[in-house]
Symmetry: C2
Subunit: 309 residues, 2 copies
């Protein structure tokens, strides 16, 4: 077996990088020649977490088939969110917490998905099932991933298991869960230094829905007004992205992590499907979505249903 590369999705967030580091460490302890890599550089939140626990970011790769035949995926499965040459390699394992779509293999594999808030919560189970100890710095990254994905347990995707795992990992990492978690989330909301294009790419995923391709980006903030002050420039950048990448519709989900609400801004067509999905009226291409914080649970299934009707 060649070296096994382990990675999360494109535009990696803290779970994509944290779960890759954690699952690669576990595989190495189990005797696999594994390396965590990433399909992009860490965002500011992830950098904050890596620095906090003295870890360096995984090497960024654009393709993998040139250096290995065997890969393991964490925190994603859909090929359009994965490495560009994913269809040329053999997928040995997947650990994930998303829907399954646009994914297939020629051979049986290890696939572990659970409907919990964070991949790292599942990875912690795998450490236990294999009787491997979680090192302090890895525990810190896994904890950061859970805080990030669940927005400190405020997201409807968050489960009892995520909370329990985070508490356990906080003890190993020797940090105060609440205060560390809020500082880390805030570190990810510094949007002022970013161009509109960078902001749209921070945490964005593409989804085929019906015969359309929808791009759904999410940014976290502590002040919605600060983001919407840039609405005109953001819309222009979304239209550029749509044209360049053949997206039919771009949905930007701006989430207030303190109030646990979001406002969406959209560009492209068909806009009326968005209104159907969220049972709302768009005004000035915007709609406020009270209580919505989860792309996975409160945005993608609703859009999918509207588009596939």
């Amino acid at each position: 077996m060649s070296k096994v590369l382990i990675f999360g999705h494109q535009n990696p967030d803290t779970d994509a990088i944290g779960a890759a580091l954690a699952f690669a460490h576990l595989q190495k302890e189990l005797g696999v020649d594994a390396e965590a890599v990433a399909l992009g550089t860490p965002n500011e939140e992830t950098e904050y977490a890596l620095n906090q626990f003295g870890l360096i970011a995984p090497r960024v790769v654009e393709k993998v088939a040139g250096e290995t035949q065997d890969v393991m995926l964490v925190d994603h499965n859909e090929f359009q969110q994965s490495v560009s040459d994913i269809e040329e390699v053999n997928i040995l394992a997947v650990v994930d917490h998303h829907r399954i779509a646009n994914f297939q293999t020629a051979n049986p594999l290890y696939y572990r998905a659970e409907p919990v808030g964070c991949t790292s919560t599942i990875v912690l189970k795998l450490y236990k099932e294999n009787n491997v100890t979680v090192p302090k710095e890895i525990a810190g990254m896994m904890l950061s991933a859970i805080v990030s994905d669940t927005l400190l347990f405020k997201s409807p995707t968050s489960t009892e298991e995520d909370m329990k795992a985070a508490k356990e990992l906080a003890a190993i990492a020797d940090v105060d869960l609440e205060s560390y978690g809020l500082e880390m989330l805030k570190a990810g909301t510094n949007l002022s230094t970013k161009t509109e294009a960078e902001l749209l790419d921070l945490d964005a995923k593409s989804f085929p829905m019906g015969d359309k391709t929808i791009r759904v980006a999410q940014v976290n903030t502590v002040d919605l007004a600060e983001v919407f002050a840039r609405q005109e420039a953001l819309e222009a950048a979304m239209i550029v992205e749509n044209t360049k990448n053949k997206y039919d519709l771009f949905v930007l989900l701006v989430t207030n992590i303190l109030n646990s609400d979001s406002e969406i801004l959209i560009a492209g067509e068909p806009k009326e499907k968005v209104e159907v999905a969220f049972n709302t009226k768009l005004e000035n291409n915007r709609a406020f979505l009270p209580g919505v914080v989860s792309r996975k649970k409160q945005v993608v299934p609703q859009l999918t249903e509207a588009f596939e009707k």
Copy 2:
């Protein structure tokens, strides 16, 4: 939540029925209102096992959406092998040991696949992870499923884990693994009472490969010559099936469970892909494949590669 129906693939084999019964019992112990059903009647091998352990066959269903919104799949994932209205219901969980293909969900789910020889081996792990005791009769069905899928551990799909699980289950079921296993396998080789159409349907699955649809049926025997004495009638029946169901190619894998070899008989086109897949020459639409006993590991990947080149 409505009642949860749990089922294996169409043309159920002993694992499709055994794993459904076992996983449904586990779910019930965990408080889920679950019922094992089946997408067809048991074959003779499965009937032997059910009788042996005093169990009745699961109710046969053709559709599920009329009675529930929630299902769990065992021993398969590909929609064309599942219930006909699978896309109308919500898949809560999958436990399987096959490749993943032609499968998708709108929501996150529990998905547990491992590259072992039998779904029931994974289900036994789930009993342990949930601290649920396996009842004697359920242990007997799970054991039968492992014997069936691994051909008493002679298949290359068989792993150490399958062997270990079978020994443990044989102790609970209070049977001698070797002698019970061989009797059960032999019970499934009584082909003389079956019409050609029945024989082709005993254990058959469809696979999209490239732009073709390939049907791969497998029958077990203790005497290849007995089956090939019916070659002409079998070929005629395969052509009828191809026409009726728009299969491009029908591959019948006749496996000698005593010698662990197979001979294939094919009907349809393109035949040359079969020759490429198995690096052989067809003579009289037949080829002997020494050491081949596993459709999943020694037939489907090879055909897939030949068709997708």
